[in-house]
């Protein structure tokens, strides 16, 4: 803090420099990871990292309030909101990074590069060699937070109020957007039971993992013939297409079993049956993939 | 304040349009009669204007003036000079015939729904066009005129695109496509002209600080408004371009044959006989009055364009296979004569051009409407589908012939007077131009007679045999028009009396004097 107060010249302390170079690298790596990670969750986590680094930088720049806010609001609230949504939408739904728009990636790269170079050139051109430091400004009202509060409630009071209104509006808007109006009367329990009786599945649906070697919720249970039954997986996961298919694994196991027993029994003719089974297994696996898509 | 007669002549058809449009779907016939009565009422009012107008009096008479958009000095200013009166009378005279001729043209083919009301719309639009055209002949405020000039396009667009000629060669879809092509072409051409004119109108306001025709003309005359010659030329070109599209002058003419071919015949008459006259009228009133020097500067080019229009239009008319397109090209030729008369800048030429506007309206209406009756009977516009009509429908053939003879300017019929005046006027100022233009009368004879020969004479053609002769309604259209044509051919004095003073004013505007005869010049 003293170093911050003293930093009214052109250079900062060595400690800050070390901090900058270390954490700056982390920030850039985090940013790059945000952009390049395949899964949204990873992106979110990398971004959170970058933001924490930035919070540290704020602190280093004498913006104590903002540094804390950055951690609490950004990293704590906003990023968590992101994570919530990622979960809602599906953690596993990885983006393919393959570009579909023709030339988009090249254009983006060119623009990014050009933009970055120009920006950096612009900053380089600006005469920013000396700076004042925040010591005096922070001290005037007895600290950074008091100084900000003084400004917010005097000079920027209207902007502050308006942002308040904006937040309320945003909250209402988010509710409106995510709220789903019920277009039909909710079914009563009686109706649901009647419906169930009329449908083909009177007994409870098979539980996931039945006849399977997994008990994960997203893996379809196998029917006695070794084929997976999607009925055993939750409706939501089915809709999202997030069913993992392990039938090929079990079929491979079956194959290995057959082979082993064949070896033991010295049967040569088992090849035909194996070959047949093998192809059947492959077909099934392909079907499963298609369903997943 | 006296009764606003000029406003009334425009307001009556406008009211008529609203009333007609409001008639319920089932009362189709009532709508027709209402439209007819309103147009006749307008004719009566126009007659009163014609009588009240004193040829020897002020230049603009029956004037009205009210502030409109005060910030830009736009005023609602009306007034008529002799030229305006003549064209006002022509418009008011033709519309009842157009309505009568189109009596059944907008009947719904089958009752699609009880709320479908094409008939009401058709007649309302015609009356709307009448109101706008009449007001544009009366407007003496440039801005007011511009607005009307453009607004006219809207009802015309719907009339062309919405109510096509039922006699077409192709399928319904094909016809609809051609019709909408024609309507869009009409709109785009005229809009393009109009937008350029808008630029010129704004430019004029910037230079002159006023939109009032009389104020600007006066300021120009007494020298208080100096215009750099390049400014004047650009403004002139802006105005002239719009009028040349509307008129239409070669090479801006190609929208006319499409529009006239695809529209119903009454609408075709409306286009060429009434709406297009606004273009030539505006050349006389605005181009010459506001930009006399630029007009003189542009005269050689315009005369050449007019000559090309005359010859080119006539030659193309000879080459047409479609009756309506033939008449359209003939009209292009005639518009060439009108422009020639205006820019010859002699008394004879300009009087002739004004008379020509009136007479061409009458003669084309006669020819086109009778052609329309013919086309309705046979259901085809192709000349080749006809032959020997004279034998089965002699009255139809006779009226068609008279319409045709009027088109070729036979002496004794009204167009001769005007055409000869234009030729004399052009010849006395530019002998070579006059001589070349005279070729037009030979070509006119060619296309009219070829048309008559192929449709009316010879052996009776296929599907012509049972063709009925003109009915009472159709006679009520053809005969009065012919009577007027003959009357004005023998005794055009009522018109010339009205027109002459206005032309003298215009001649003063452009500071031109008629060339002296050689004999007197020698003395």
């Amino acid at each position: 803090m003293t170093s911050g107060l003293a930093a009214a010249a052109t250079l900062t302390s060595t400690g800050e420099a070390v901090q900058f170079w270390l954490l700056g690298t982390v920030a850039v790596v985090g940013a790059l990871a945000t952009v390049l990670m395949k899964k949204a969750v990873h992106s979110a986590l990398s971004l959170a990292g970058t933001m924490i680094v930035l919070a540290v930088f704020y602190l280093a720049n004498g913006a104590y309030f903002l540094g804390i806010v950055q951690v609490v609001v950004y990293t704590g609230a906003i990023m968590m909101l992101f994570l919530f949504v990622v979960m809602l939408v599906g953690v596993t739904a990885a983006d393919s990074l393959k570009e579909t728009l023709k030339g988009q990636r090249w254009l983006a790269a060119a623009c990014g590069l050009g933009f970055g170079i120009l920006l950096i050139a612009g900053i380089g051109q600006a005469s920013l060699s000396s700076f004042n430091g925040l010591g005096a400004a922070n001290a005037r009202h007895g600290g950074n937070v008091e100084g900000l509060a003084n400004l917010i409630f005097t000079k920027y009071v209207f902007a502050f109020e308006i942002t308040g209104a904006l937040l309320i509006t945003a909250t209402v808007g988010a509710m409106l957007l995510t709220h789903r109006e019920r277009t039909e009367r909710a079914k009563s329990q009686r109706e649901m039971s009647q419906e169930r009786v009329r449908s083909s599945h009177l007994p409870p649906l098979p539980a996931p993992g039945v006849y399977a070697r997994h008990n994960a919720v997203d893996i379809a249970g196998l029917l006695p013939d070794g084929t997976p039954s999607e009925l055993t997986v939750m409706q939501t996961l089915r809709r999202r297409g997030q069913i993992r298919d392990v039938s090929d694994e079990s079929l491979a196991d079956l194959k290995a079993l057959e082979q082993r027993s064949g070896e033991r029994l010295g049967r040569d003719r088992a090849d035909d049956g194996l070959a047949k089974n093998d192809s059947a297994g492959k077909d099934l696996a392909e079907d499963g993939e298609e369903v997943a898509k | 304040m006296s009764f606003p007669l000029l406003t009334a002549t425009a307001a009556l058809p406008a009211i008529g349009a609203i009333v007609t449009a409001a008639v319920p779907a089932a009362q189709r016939t009532a709508a027709k009669w209402l439209a007819l009565f309103f147009s006749l009422g307008t004719l009566v009012l126009a007659g009163i204007v014609f009588v009240r107008f004193e040829p020897g009096g002020d230049r603009y008479q029956l004037t009205e003036s009210h502030a409109w958009i005060a910030d830009f000095g736009v005023r609602y200013e009306l007034g008529v000079d002799g030229i305006g009166v003549a064209l006002l009378a022509l418009t008011a005279l033709l519309i009842p015939f157009v309505i009568l001729a189109g009596w059944h043209d907008a009947d719904p083919l089958e009752t699609k729904s009880s709320r479908w009301r094409p008939t009401q719309g058709f007649f309302a639009l015609i009356l709307m066009v009448e109101a706008m055209v009449i007001l544009s002949f009366e407007a003496t405020d440039v801005f007011l005129f511009y607005i009307l000039f453009e607004a006219m396009l809207i009802p015309m667009y719907f009339l062309i695109g919405g109510f096509g000629d039922r006699a077409h060669a192709g399928t319904d879809e094909n016809a609809a496509a051609q019709r909408s092509y024609a309507a869009v072409k009409f709109l785009l051409y005229n809009l393009a002209g109009g937008l350029i004119m808008l630029a010129a109108v704004i430019g004029l306001y910037v230079v002159a600080g006023s939109f009032s025709l009389s104020e600007i003309a006066e300021a120009r005359a007494n020298g208080s408004l100096e215009m750099a010659s390049s400014t004047e030329r650009w403004l002139f070109l802006g105005f002239f371009f719009a009028f040349a599209v509307k008129a239409p002058l070669w090479p801006l003419h190609t929208w006319l044959p499409n529009a006239m071919g695809e529209a119903t015949t009454p609408v075709a008459v409306l286009i060429t006989a009434v709406v297009d006259k606004v273009g030539t009228f505006a050349m006389l009133r605005f181009c010459l009055q506001l930009f006399p020097e630029a007009s003189k500067w542009a005269t050689p080019v315009i005369l050449v364009l007019a000559l090309i229009s005359i010859i080119y239009g006539a030659l193309l008319a000879v080459g047409q296979r479609d009756i309506k397109r033939l008449i359209a090209y003939a009209s292009i030729s005639h518009f060439g004569f009108i422009v020639l008369g205006i820019f010859a800048m002699t008394s004879q030429g300009q009087s002739g051009a004004t008379l020509y506007m009136v007479n061409h309206g009458l003669s084309t209406a006669a020819l086109m409407l009778v052609a329309g009756f013919l086309i309705t009977r046979r259901g085809s516009r192709l000349i080749a589908d006809y032959g020997g009509v004279q034998k089965v429908a002699p009255v139809l053939a006779g009226t068609f012939l008279i319409g045709g003879l009027a088109t070729l300017s036979l002496p004794g019929l009204a167009p001769f007077v005007s055409e000869f005046l234009v030729l004399v006027g052009a010849f006395s100022a530019y002998p070579v131009v006059g001589v070349i233009a005279t070729l037009g009368i030979v070509l006119a004879a060619l296309y009219v007679l070829v048309l008559y020969q192929r449709t009316m004479t010879g052996p009776v053609g296929e599907k012509i045999g049972g063709m009925p002769d003109l009915r009472v309604r159709e006679l009520a259209v053809a005969l009065p028009l012919i009577a007027v044509l003959i009357f004005l051919g023998v005794f055009p004095k009522p018109l010339t009396e009205v027109v002459n003073p206005a032309v003298q004013h215009t001649m003063q505007d452009v500071q031109k004097k008629d060339p002296q005869p050689e004999v007197e010049a020698a003395k």
């Binding site: 728009l101 988009q104 254009l107 623009c111 990014g112 050009g114 933009f115 120009l118 920006l119 612009g122 051109q125 | 785009l188 051409y189 003419h253 080119y312 030659l315 193309l316 080459g319 047409q320 008394s347 004879q348 020997g388 034998k391 006779g398 003879l405 036979l410 002496p411 004794g412 001769f416 007077v417 000869f420 005046l421 030729l423 004399v424 010849f427 006395s428 002998p431 006059g434 005279t438 009368i441 030979v442 004879a445 060619l446 007679l449 070829v450 020969q453 004479t457 010879g458 052996p459 009776v460 023998v490 055009p492 004095k493 010339t496 009396e497 032309v503 005869p517 050689e518 004999v519 007197e520």
Partner: protein, 631 residues
């Protein structure tokens, strides 16, 4: 008395209006109404004539101004009439012959269901022709000029169901329009030169005008005359015009309308007198046509077309005479009048023959008709004698005068013209004798027509023969009556002026020469057609004959150059209009459309793609800012 002049025109005009607007209920009385109005006009003409005779030679011109027609600053055209001796001559000829032909038509058109309309058109023609000859200014004359063109168009094409008739009518009108163009240019020239186109003031002003202008006016008037009077090069319509009913050919295309050109030139004598170059051209045109028509007349087998060739040739004589100036004006008009009688008579005779022969026109299918149609034979024969210039008959006097006048022109010119006219006289004798022999003499050569109807030649009804007889009477005596004591010359001299010229040879010599060529012509015709039987199918003939049969290839020339050329021109123009003029505009529209279509593809709807352009835009903005700062 002046007020009667308008009545001359009004009567047939009213007749035409009544007949054409009257509708079917007038069908039964239509021909009588038409004839009545024509006769009324004739009566008015006679009354005026008597009145005119009662006044002194210098006091004979009457004027009547009806109303101001086209009053425009500096341009004053009136509907006003002028009746002087020249007009009077024409009025009598037109109404007289006109009335006779009305009477003739009653019989001739008896079986035509559209007879009422025919009479309406005839009345219309009379009115227009009368306007033409009694107008007191060129513009009103122009009205009549085009009016007769219209009537001629309607009457040639009277049998409109025949495509050939419709085409002939159109052709006549069009060729006439070319001539009319000349007249209108002439009027414009007069307006710019004299400031007026009324006869009196214009002629007075000729003295103050440059000869060049007058020559131009004269040539334009000549063009008009060529069109109306079927002179080379605008003669091609007359032969085809024979498609019209024969009374029409007699009245319009022989006696009256086609002579309007002669009237025009004689009327404009004051202008031509001051423009010798124009006169020379007139004479040349007359001389060429004279021979042209005569040669064509020799080759035609169609009786009416042969007569049409003859008409052309005779009018050539008149034009030639008119071109001679004051020496010839009177003779031109005199020949015009006598020609009106005998040629109308000849045509009516031809009509009578056709009437009896199921409308057959090919002379090679006639023969020996004199026994079957005695009255026709005699009247036709008298007309024949008159036209070839048989001594004592009308044609002898009038044609002889012209030949004399041609010689009297003087110099080489006079000799050439004299010889041409003599040659013409010889050919006239030849072809008329040919017509006579083929039709009335020799063996009968008619055959059943396609439907097997054998023609039964018979004499025509009284309504047809009486006019023929009257006209024959005129053909015989008119010439003598006019010439004895130079009556006609004295009658017309106050209007046209007269000059005897300097005849290099005496009148007697000329007459003798005329007689000699006459005999030669007749003799050749006799050897060719009288002595040996005539083949029904025309022999191939010499090159000249074949050319003459095709109107000396002039039509072919027109066809190739004007019709074909015109068709190609219009077709290519239609193409140009569609592709070029319209194409430029459509092309602009299409290219705009194409451009926006391509631009539209940038608008692919992908937010990221838009983001790239935004980002790129931001980069460009920064670059621009930096650049501005750097600069």
């Amino acid at each position: 008395m002046e007020n009667l002049i308008a009545l001359l025109v009004a009567a047939p005009l009213l007749g035409a209006a009544v007949l054409l607007c009257g509708g079917r209920r007038l069908d039964r009385a239509g021909h009588w109404i038409g004839t009545l109005f024509a006769a009324a006009s004739f009566v008015v003409g006679v009354v005026l004539f008597v009145d005119m005779l009662g006044r002194g030679a210098d006091d004979r011109t009457l004027h009547q101004k009806l109303f101001s027609w086209i009053p425009v600053e500096g341009f004053q055209a009136d509907v006003a009439f002028q009746l002087d001796q020249l007009s009077m001559t024409f009025v009598l000829l037109i109404t007289g012959v006109g009335t006779l032909i009305h009477i003739y038509s009653i019989g001739y058109m008896e079986h035509d269901e559209r007879r009422r309309r025919f009479f309406g058109y005839l009345n219309l023609f009379l009115a227009a022709m009368l306007i033409l000859v009694i107008a007191d200014n060129y513009l009103l004359l122009y009205v009549g000029w085009e009016g007769v063109g219209l009537a001629s168009y309607l009457l040639i094409g009277f049998w409109q169901h025949k495509p050939s008739a419709a085409t002939a009518a159109k052709k006549a009108f069009l060729v006439n329009r070319v001539g009319d163009m000349g007249l209108s240019i002439a009027i414009m020239l007069m307006f710019t030169t004299f400031g007026t186109f009324a006869f009196g003031p214009a002629f007075e002003a000729t003295g103050d005008t440059s000869e060049g202008k007058l020559t131009a006016i004269g040539l334009m008037l000549l063009l008009a005359a060529c069109g109306k009077s079927a002179q080379v090069p605008l003669q091609s319509w007359l032969g085809d015009a024979m498609e019209g009913p024969t009374p029409v050919s007699a009245l319009i295309h022989a006696a009256t309308m086609v002579t309007a050109g002669v009237y025009l030139i004689v009327r404009s004598g004051a202008i031509f007198n001051a423009a010798p170059d124009a006169q020379l051209v007139v004479v040349i045109v007359g001389a060429v046509t004279l021979l042209f028509g005569a040669i064509v007349g020799c080759a035609k087998d169609d009786i009416k077309k042969a007569l049409a060739g003859s008409t052309m040739s005779q009018i050539g004589y008149m034009i030639l005479a008119a071109g001679l100036g004051p020496i010839g004006y009177v003779f031109a008009i005199m020949h015009l009048v006598t020609h009106g009688f005998f040629k109308a008579g000849l045509f009516l005779g031809a009509g009578s023959v056709m009437h009896g022969m199921n409308d057959e026109v090919d002379m090679r299918k006639y023969g020996g008709l004199r026994k079957f149609m005695p009255v026709t034979f005699v009247t036709f024969g008298l007309g024949y004698l008159a036209i070839i210039g048989f001594p004592g008959l009308s044609g002898f006097f009038s044609k002889d005068m012209i030949i004399e006048a041609a010689f009297a022109k003087g110099g080489t010119e006079g000799w050439i013209l004299g010889c041409v006219t003599l040659l013409g006289a010889a050919i006239t004798a030849f072809y008329m004798t040919r017509v006579m022999l083929l039709t009335f003499f020799g063996e009968k050569r008619w055959q059943p027509d396609a439907e097997g109807h054998e023609p039964h030649p018979h004499e025509s009804p009284k309504s047809m023969t009486i006019p023929m007889i009257v006209l024959a009477f005129g053909s015989v005596f008119a010439g003598g009556f006019f010439s004895i004591g130079d009556r006609f010359m004295h009658w017309l001299e106050p209007v046209t002026g007269h000059d005897h010229g300097h005849a290099p040879v005496s009148a007697t010599t000329v007459t003798a020469a005329t007689m000699v060529v006459l005999v030669i012509g007749v003799a050749i015709a006799w050897t060719m057609y009288g002595r040996k039987p005539v083949p029904v199918v025309a022999p191939r003939g010499s090159l000249l004959t074949r050319a003459a049969r095709r109107d000396l290839l002039q039509d072919d020339f027109n066809h190739v150059v004007l019709v074909r050329g015109g068709e190609h021109l219009t077709r290519s123009l239609v193409y140009v209009d569609h592709t070029l003029v319209d194409g430029v505009v459509n092309g602009t529209a299409a290219s705009m459309g194409g451009l926006s279509g391509r631009l539209r593809k940038l608008q692919n709807g992908y937010a990221r793609s838009y983001a790239v352009s935004m980002f790129g835009g931001a980069a460009v903005l920064i670059a621009a800012t930096l650049l501005m700062r750097a600069v």
